[in-house]
């Protein structure tokens, strides 16, 4: 029981840390990779919540397909313009 709670807490801390890092990172490529890892941990969370069906789907879709889509998009969109001249703020995110 204690072991399970320790595992839960570790899993949750890792998930929250990955989510914050994926949203906060300035590097889009790093964001997408962190998001894929986050998706894989979500699959673990589903298994922990006794939802194996969702875990199976999440492992293939949430992490794999969404991540692959974003990675493909990044090749072109990652180097796109963030803001028009004059509307700039401190939020320059660089692509891969």
């Amino acid at each position: 029981m204690i072991l399970a709670s320790v595992f839960d807490v570790l899993l949750i801390v890792a998930m929250l840390g990955l989510a914050v890092a994926a949203v906060g990172s300035r590097d889009l490529f790093r964001s997408v990779i962190l998001f894929i890892v986050f998706g894989l941990l979500m699959a673990l969370a589903w298994a922990r919540l006794r939802a194996p069906d969702i875990a199976l789907t999440e492992a293939a879709l949430g992490a794999g397909l969404t991540g692959a889509l974003l990675l493909h998009a990044l090749r072109v969109l990652g180097s796109g313009k963030i803001s028009l001249p004059g509307a700039g703020d401190g939020d320059k995110e660089k692509g891969s």
């Binding site: 199976l56 293939a60 889509l69």
Partner: protein, 237 residues
């Protein structure tokens, strides 16, 4: 407005937004904490109706039988998404080319040769297993979609996988089957998606098999359609 005051305005704006979201999180969190740990869901009702569902796995019973209407519409949404992505395409020649010379790599070819049969067998098993244990059309379709994405990413599935009639047939098969069964139940039983008990298991298995193909094809086509926008050298404006 000077650059400096614009900057500090943004900082204030950002802080206010952060505070608002933290407040929202605290409110939602206290709501979650106030939820009783006692089960109040529909697990008991589902258990009580399992003997008329035609399958032995509760989730499959809910997806394909008790809430079959939801799943029917969900497949419709998936088809609409495919049509929407197709309609975004600006190229004249509607083919998914992702020129990737990597398919000449022997390691990749052998690796895919080992991986793909395993994926297909697992996907087939998933549909079958769905009637009595975790598995079913969605998991199987997700696996098939993953196989399709792997094929496209590795450059093995290129021009032949266009919007041909075969792909369209795969895409529509699950939805058509589902609608056909729904129409049949309306005609013969008078209620939408009320399967006759003796055929329920068979009907669900048939729908699930075609659904798995359709979901896999839809996910592959969605990925190919969108990723095709980012391919190089095929643009014909």
């Amino acid at each position: 407005m000077s650059g400096r005051s614009r900057m500090s305005f943004r900082v204030i704006q950002r802080t206010a937004l952060g505070a608002g979201i933290v407040a929202l999180g605290l409110a939602l969190g206290s709501a979650v904490l106030s939820i009783s740990p006692e089960a109040t869901g529909l697990a008991r009702q589902v258990d009580g109706a399992m003997n008329v569902s035609g399958v032995a796995h509760p989730l499959t019973a809910v997806l394909l039988n008790f809430r079959g209407y939801d799943t029917l519409l969900e497949i419709g949404v998936l088809l609409v998404a495919v049509i929407a992505v197709w309609s975004l395409d600006y190229r004249e020649e509607k083919r998914f080319h992702l020129q990737a010379p990597i398919h000449r790599s022997p390691v990749l070819r052998v690796g895919m040769g080992i991986l793909l049969p395993v994926i297909f067998i697992t996907a087939g098993y998933m549909v079958w297993a769905g009637s009595y244990r975790p598995g079913g059309a969605f998991q199987s379709g997700a696996l098939l979609g993953a196989a399709g994405v792997t094929l496209i990413s590795s450059g093995m599935l290129v021009a032949p996988f266009a919007r041909g009639p075969l792909v369209r047939l795969f895409l529509a098969a699950g939805f058509l089957m589902f609608i056909g069964v729904a129409a049949g139940t309306v005609l013969f039983k008078g209620r939408l998606l009320w399967y006759p008990i003796e055929y329920a298991g068979l009907l669900i298995l048939a729908i699930e098999t075609l659904l798995a193909f359709s979901i896999g094809a839809a996910l592959t086509v969605l990925f190919a359609g969108v990723a095709g926008f980012f391919g190089k050298g095929e643009e014909r404006p």
